[in-house]
């Protein structure tokens, strides 16, 4: 059986919005990072979907690359969070305003 494309697109949209909501509302940097990962995954799924329904099907290979890249960026992100923590003794964004004028 095949799940219609529409359903799956709604699913990925929801997943993306959940991630976006999380990224906007969470105050914990790790939480924000996780939410961003969710959004990334939603996009990945979308990628796979379009690759499956359209030809050529080789587009799915890129998703694997993206996953690897995401792992690398996540590690960089976590490293930044760790560095901030060491500096500020906190990872809550409403307590970090170094970017202010």
């Amino acid at each position: 059986m095949t799940i219609p494309l529409n359903h799956l697109l709604i699913f990925t949209s929801l997943l993306f919005l959940i991630g976006l909501y999380g990224a906007l509302t969470r105050r914990n940097l790790v939480g924000i990072l996780m939410s961003i990962e969710i959004m990334l995954n939603a996009v990945n799924v979308n990628f796979v979907l379009f690759a499956a329904s359209l030809s050529p099907k080789a587009g799915q290979v890129f998703v694997l690359f993206i996953i690897v890249m995401a792992a690398a960026t996540a590690s960089v992100g976590l490293a930044i969070v760790l560095a901030i923590y060491r500096n500020q003794k906190t990872i809550y964004t409403d307590q970090i305003n170094l970017l202010k004028w």
Partner: protein, 633 residues
């Protein structure tokens, strides 16, 4: 040979430069530099005159600038007249410099004195060898400048600085005439070279009014420099300077320059009878008047000062009546005995410490060398044979008589009588009579020049005497007309000299109470003589007063109009500047500041956008993305 002649004035100049720059380190030694270089210069002058006697006549010149195709030259020219002057100036001048070592030895500005003396020598020697009127004018002014330095050498004394100024300004009056004379002469004849001033050139301009005027104007310069009436007033005041300076000014340099100029320009004066009449008249008047003033002076140097004026008048008169050689001959002999008289007077002042003859007396015992040399000089100036003054004075009297100027002749004879009288009066008052105070003989550096000059005073007249067949006169001028020994003149001359001597002897040695009585009896003459005809007072009351009031007027004009206009402009400028300052501060600067201020205010508002919270940025990012997406679709 030209180089050697050129070195004669240059060596004193080198001495001047060295002493001026190194005087502080040289101190006492600076005198020896001046003496050394001037001695070399004297030696060169001797060799030069030797060559000239043998017939050489050398000149060299270079064009300095060209006016209307006529070159204006600088250079040197040594003819017999110049050679004679070179000899006299270097010889007498060097002796005076040697003498100054003794006279000035305690002076705080000792090196400077020798620097000035050397500069004076340079100026005078440069003047003597000038080949053109313009060059002679340049050195003429230098001589005037040096006289200003030296007369006012003790400028701490007000009288000395005043005297220096008086000499300078009085000379300036004559020099204006001299300058105009040069200009008009150039205009009339188109030449300034002395070598062009021949009888032939003058012949071409016979009866030219401009040339007559120019001759008179040129004579103005000589009137100023040689202290002739009416510009003689500076010379007695010049006695404020150190005595060697007086000797130098009166014997070898300065005043000799005027006579030298007239002798140089003799062809001009000879060709214009009117001009030479004026020269003769002024000379005679000066000679008589100054001798008259000298009769009653009490200051030893003042007597000698008037004596100098009188003798210069003699020379001028001689040249005026056509006896150019007689005048220059007297210039030479006078240089010797007048230098000796001044140095002797300096020695007396140095030894006794006073200048007023009433406080002297009996000095012949304590100052034997000074006394005997002074006697020789007095006899020479009084004109008693065979001393030098006799020959030259006799020559002048003879040429006055021969030219047919009887009035001038008898006036000059009268002057000779007075000269003899006042000189012996000076001698008796100073060296005879009661001793009135302690005195000592001067050191050898001062007496040695006296002795040498005394020998010169005896012997220098011989070259012009009949014993040597008027050799000197023929040397100076080849056109010289033979002057025969005139028995009448000689007898009269000797008689007047002896009469003057005897009168002085009676009045000041034998019957010493008589002068006061005579002064009372002839009070009119006495007051006139003693107050020098009130000429100084007359100038003070007229020319100087007018000039001062004119200067005052000019000052007020300057202050009230020119200065005020300048100040007004200044104030207005300040006012405008203040206005501009206000505009700058409040308007221009204000606008600039306003821009800055507004930027600050708006950014103060806008900076609140930058919260620094990462979730705010994220929110705006998404919002912006949404807006873009909305705008696109």
């Amino acid at each position: 040979m030209v180089t050697r002649a050129l070195l004669i004035p240059l060596l004193p100049l080198i001495a001047f430069v060295i002493i001026t720059f190194l005087g502080k380190w040289l101190k006492e030694k600076s005198a020896w530099i001046a003496i050394g270089l001037n001695l070399v210069s004297t030696f060169f002058a001797f060799t030069v005159i030797w060559e000239v006697i043998k017939g050489a006549h050398f000149s060299a010149s270079a064009a300095w600038l060209v006016i209307n195709q006529i070159p204006l030259e600088v250079g040197i020219a040594v003819d017999p007249l110049a050679a004679m002057m070179l000899f006299v100036v270097t010889f007498v001048g060097t002796l005076i410099i040697i003498y100054s070592v003794g006279y000035m030895h305690e002076d705080p500005r000792y090196p400077k004195f020798f620097a000035y003396l050397s500069l004076f020598m340079f100026s005078m020697l440069g003047l003597v060898i000038s080949p053109t009127l313009v060059q002679i004018y340049v050195f003429w002014e230098l001589v005037g400048l040096c006289s200003y330095f030296l007369i006012g050498f003790w400028f701490e004394k007000k009288s000395a600085s005043d005297a220096g100024r008086k000499a300078f300004i009085t000379n300036r009056i004559g020099d204006i005439g001299f300058f105009l004379g040069i200009a008009t002469f150039f205009y009339a004849t188109g030449t300034m070279r002395f070598s062009d001033m021949t009888p032939e050139l003058m012949h071409a301009h016979t009866g030219s009014t401009v040339l007559t005027l120019s001759a008179l104007l040129l004579f103005c310069g000589a009137i100023g420099k040689s202290a002739q009436f009416p510009l003689h007033v500076w010379l007695p005041d010049a006695m404020e300077g150190p005595t060697p300076v007086s000797a130098l000014i009166h014997a070898a340099t300065m005043v000799a320059a005027g006579v030298y100029l007239v002798a140089r320009l003799f062809p001009i004066f000879h060709a214009i009878p009117e001009a030479s009449q004026v020269v003769a008249a002024i000379g005679t008047l000066t000679a008589f008047m100054a001798a008259f003033f000298a009769l009653t002076q009490m200051d030893i140097k003042k007597v000698l000062a008037y004596s100098t004026i009188s003798q210069l008048g003699y020379m001028m008169a001689a040249i005026g009546v056509g006896g150019m050689t007689a005048g220059t001959f007297h210039l030479m002999t006078h240089a010797f005995f007048k230098a000796l008289l001044f140095l002797g007077a300096g020695s007396v002042i140095h030894g006794s410490g006073v200048q007023d003859m009433r406080e002297m007396g009996g000095l012949r015992k304590s100052m034997p060398v000074t006394f005997w040399t002074f006697v020789i000089a007095t006899v020479a100036i009084a004109g008693i044979p065979p001393f030098s003054g006799f020959w030259s004075k006799d020559e002048i009297l003879a040429s006055a008589l021969e030219s047919g100027h009887t009035v001038i002749f008898y006036t000059l004879v009268m002057t000779a009588l007075m000269t003899s009288f006042y000189m012996f009066r000076l001698l008796f008052l100073t060296f005879f009579g009661k001793t009135r105070g302690h005195a000592h003989e001067s050191p050898w550096v001062m007496t040695l020049p006296l002795v040498i000059l005394a020998i010169g005073s005896i012997g220098i007249g011989l070259p012009g005497s009949p014993f040597m067949h008027h050799w000197f006169q023929n040397f100076i001028s080849h056109h010289h007309e033979e002057i025969q020994m005139n028995t009448f003149v000689v007898t009269l001359s000797i008689a007047t000299s002896l009469l003057g001597f005897l009168t002085a002897l009676i009045l000041y040695v034998i019957k010493t109470e008589l002068p006061v009585k005579l002064a009372k009896k002839f009070w009119l003459f006495y007051t006139f003589s003693h107050n020098k005809f009130w000429i100084d007072e007359f100038y003070q009351a007229t020319v100087i007063r007018w000039f001062k009031s004119f200067a005052d007027l000019a000052f007020r004009f300057d202050e009230g109009i020119i200065d005020r206009a300048v100040n007004e402009v200044g104030w207005k400028t300040v006012w405008t500047a203040n206005l501009k300052n206000w505009i700058d501060t409040y308007i221009v600067d204000g606008l600039v500041n306003l821009t800055g201020w507004m930027t600050q205010q708006t950014s103060a508002l806008l900076r609140h956008v930058q919260t620094g919270y990462i979730h705010h940025y994220l929110f705006f990012m998404v919002l912006g993305l949404l807006i873009i997406v909305y705008a696109i679709f």
